[in-house]
Symmetry: C2
Subunit: 541 residues, 2 copies
């Protein structure tokens, strides 16, 4: 093969080639807007110059401890300045950030520390007790640094030093070096996993840069963005908004816990423009007592994901001044990969019709290469008919490197050149995907497929229902029947007969639950309903 | 060096790695929004499905002619659907798109065809005369396809086939293959060059993808964007908006010529949301007769670059319903690389103060890696004092591969790991860069540096001045003195004494022009004032 004129004398060099990395976002923000407020935390403020200096101090302190490329630093932190600094300082040392879910128990954390081969742990004061237990239970027993966050309410010191001491020993002008290869790992995020041990999802610098850019484009971030951290940063690095907000030189508004008594004042006082959260966060805001709510005159864009927001939730949020956007993704795709892009003409729809539109996972981000809904038996794309169910597949630079030390699971997840989400979806005629169920959440009754999500959607529309989950229950005659678990709204009362009758009126009769159980729903540490627990309960009835 | 756990069993594959290319934007748009209007051209409409099919037809027709990776396809087209299709169809064949400035003369075009080693030429009917002459004058005499655009007003056929015949022979389902290496060339753009032969600037797929993403983030494009093509697409591929608008699945509104009688109705009828253009476009809209202007109720975002918009222009545009944004870049940086990001508090400034802010080239795009203003003698960054002048340097993935077949010029432009823009700038305390002059446009009078831009800025504020340019004129006593060339507004009258007096009142006396010449200003084919012509005239006075 001969080289063309375009291959000659046109080499890559420092001037025209750089590894893509979200770390550059902070360098740029600090250089161009040194005095802009980067972080708000209660009454505290840090500028971008300060944030950058602190991140560089952290990186140099880590390097001084012998930590570098290929090493893991684990953190157990709420949405604090230290957590944001870790998202820059840890990879600036060359190391990989492992942000652990703060709701996990000690044995699971111990498993993660060992599996990730963590060289250092950074833990917030409020979580030192569980971390002490986890380190003791681990084989590796990594050293610990504790963070004495000014807004932490309790907890004892742990480990060899306090975080500010570590930073004080660091160099604020540290000349960090970006990855020589943008495929280098930047983060390690363990999936909560409803069964078995959690899997470690590996992100690289290239994907983090691109997904952050995708967030900025899809969710409309800009320099005026003030982003409230209602979404845990340990959740896919805050869906990569930890980097996206810095990319646009916006302001991060920290929040230690998802509490309406903190959220409403923060929105009003900080003029919050954007936030994210699971649907439960939206529900919590809607059901906050009148005394807790604060009025604000501006519109707040809130993105939600993990489950489609019911119509009552959308309407309730709109009344309070929020504009809801539905994003979809998984830890394996750096968080959001698709968006239910909202054409203005849908604004005029009735609440229920609007909710049905917003239930869609939507269209792919510009930063992901491909999305398909595939009949896994034939390997063909399903038609755009809004009916035929297939598995949702994604591919592109914002799909994980793979699962750490788990080539079998990696191979299965990325088989045939696509990431298999495990979510069952339809494609609507306008190209929007809508997830109907997880593969294992389909109920097969009398040979007919029943989507548990569809039944849940109807249940959510009942004015007396606060939360609902539907699973399959074995049945001699039908094979399986839908079994509904329902949490009733405070002050409301409901009977199983009423619930079943409501479902029959609002959907095909055969899809209506045969059994209804009232009570609290079991949840994972990330707030997902544990359907496997419900399935066990249903079988034990 | 041992490999870390993050290097093991985590390979790149089709699922998690793809070459970055803006071609994916069209695939995504056509897949997710097949029926959305991609292109508006007069009364004609094409959906994204149609646009994608036509681009694939073009690619397959090119491949059938033996055109592929490393080959150049030259086009001489106004802002038409064929031009947009070329931006996708040509690189989908693997070839490099060479969009030629339609204002060039035949000898220059002939030089470009030979230098680019063009394998095929596609030319609009209105430009077949100059192209016939150019091909005849070229050594290579490439084959020609002519485009019979429905809105073309004159011109004869040229070459072996009409464009639609070429497409008819193509495959609308052509399975194009993206670049295996994202460093592969996608476009070749010749700088207009005020002296000597034009230089061929080479873009790659990676840079085109990234700069398009940067445009979407910086200029706030989204799915509702309706982009009017007032900026020539031959100008750095329309500052990469040819790809950016498709990235957000917006609508391209074509425009064959920059004419207010076409622009105003298009804005009103198509609800145009965004457009770009040189300052002369803004001036033209402001001075359009009342009978030509159309009212519109929405706000149109207009980005301008190449020169800072004067205060009268900003105010005039705002009165008509436009919001002006100042972008900065060069062909060597894929068009825009910096933006004068506009904090809301600047809205309240007086017109002159506002114009002084908007004169700034601003802060770097999130997609460029670095921006510096460097004292080229010491190699140090200038202080952020708004006063010290240095050369503006840029680096990153959106800096060109280099100049085609010109390693010497490439080496000089990219020396020391930075692209040397040749623009002299200051950095303001808030981090914003402001270009004060081209290196060769500084006037040195009595040992003092005078920025010709600064003098021009004052001249522009005079109510009788339509256009102005200032150059150095040799002077026995002072070395050089400023010489102003002024075009007077229609209906106004001015004397040299009045102009000089006005300048003395509004700036340091020594900076005021010593000579004033009235008349039309000479311009390049891209509308830039030809200062070298003015310098010659000044010396000849």
């Amino acid at each position: 093969m001969t080289t063309s004129i375009f291959d000659r004398d046109l080499p890559r060099g420092r001037a025209n080639h750089a590894s893509l990395t979200p770390l550059d976002f902070l360098d740029r923000a600090a250089t161009t807007y040194p005095d802009r407020v980067a972080i708000v935390h209660g009454e505290h403020r840090w500028t971008y110059a300060q944030k950058y200096q602190r991140a560089r101090r952290l990186a140099s302190a880590l390097v001084a401890r012998g930590i570098g490329v290929g090493d893991t630093v684990s953190v157990l932190l709420p949405n604090t300045p230290a957590m944001l600094e870790a998202h820059y300082g840890v990879p600036m040392s060359g190391a990989v950030l492992n942000a652990i879910n703060t709701r996990l128990d000690a044995p699971t954390i111990a498993f993660i520390l060992d599996h990730a081969e963590s060289k250092l742990v950074i833990v917030d004061r409020e979580f030192t007790a569980v971390m002490a237990e986890a380190v003791a239970a681990s084989r590796s027993k990594p050293p610990v640094i504790w963070v004495n966050d000014p807004l932490a309410e309790h907890g004892e010191p742990l480990g060899e030093a306090e975080y500010e001491e570590l930073l004080a020993a660091g160099d604020p002008e540290f000349a960090w070096v970006g990855p020589t290869d943008e495929w280098q790992a930047i983060a390690l995020n363990y999936t909560s996993g409803t069964t078995g041990n959690p899997k470690g999802v590996v992100f690289h610098h290239r994907g983090a840069f691109l997904n952050a850019s995708g967030n900025a484009i899809a969710f409309g971030l800009n320099r005026e963005t003030r982003y409230l951290w209602t979404l845990p940063m340990f959740h896919c690095n805050g869906w990569t908004f930890t980097w996206a907000v810095t990319a646009v030189c916006g302001t991060h508004v920290c929040l230690r816990k998802v509490d309406p008594t903190l959220i409403f004042p923060s929105i009003a006082d900080n003029l919050v423009s954007h936030m994210c959260g699971a649907p439960i966060v939206l529900t919590m805001l809607i059901h906050a007592p009148e005394t807790v709510r604060r009025r604000f005159d501006h519109t707040v864009s809130i993105a939600t994901g993990g489950a489609a927001p019911p119509s009552a939730v959308i309407a309730g949020m709109e009344r309070m001044g929020f504009k809801v956007t539905h994003l979809y993704g998984l830890t394996e795709t750096y968080g959001p990969s698709t968006i239910c892009a909202w054409p203005p003409e849908w604004d005029a729809l009735e609440p229920d019709a609007k909710a049905r539109k917003m239930a869609r996972q939507g269209v792919q981000y510009p930063t992901i290469e491909g999305m398909r809904v595939v009949d896994t038996e034939t390997g063909r794309d399903v038609p755009l008919d809004g009916q035929t169910i297939g598995e949702l597949w994604l591919r592109g630079n914002t799909v994980m490197k793979g699962y750490l030390k788990n080539p079998k699971a990696t191979g299965e997840a990325l088989a045939e050149g696509w990431f298999h989400t495990g979510d069952l979806a339809v494609l609507h005629p306008d190209g929007y995907a809508e997830v109907k169920d997880r593969s294992k959440d389909i109920i097969i009754s009398g040979g007919e497929n029943i989507s548990s999500l569809e039944v849940e959607d109807v249940l959510f529309r009942h004015p007396g229902v606060m939360e609902a989950a539907v699973v399959a229950r074995s049945d001699e005659r039908w094979g399986e029947t839908p079994c509904a678990f329902v949490t009733v709204k405070p002050g409301a009362s409901l009977t199983a007969e009423e619930v079943i009758a409501y479902c029959r009126e609002n959907m095909a009769r055969f899809k209506a639950p045969k059994t209804v159980v009232f009570g609290e729903l079991p949840k994972t540490s990330t707030g997902k309903i544990q359907k496997f627990v419900l399935r066990e309960r249903a079988e034990a009835l």
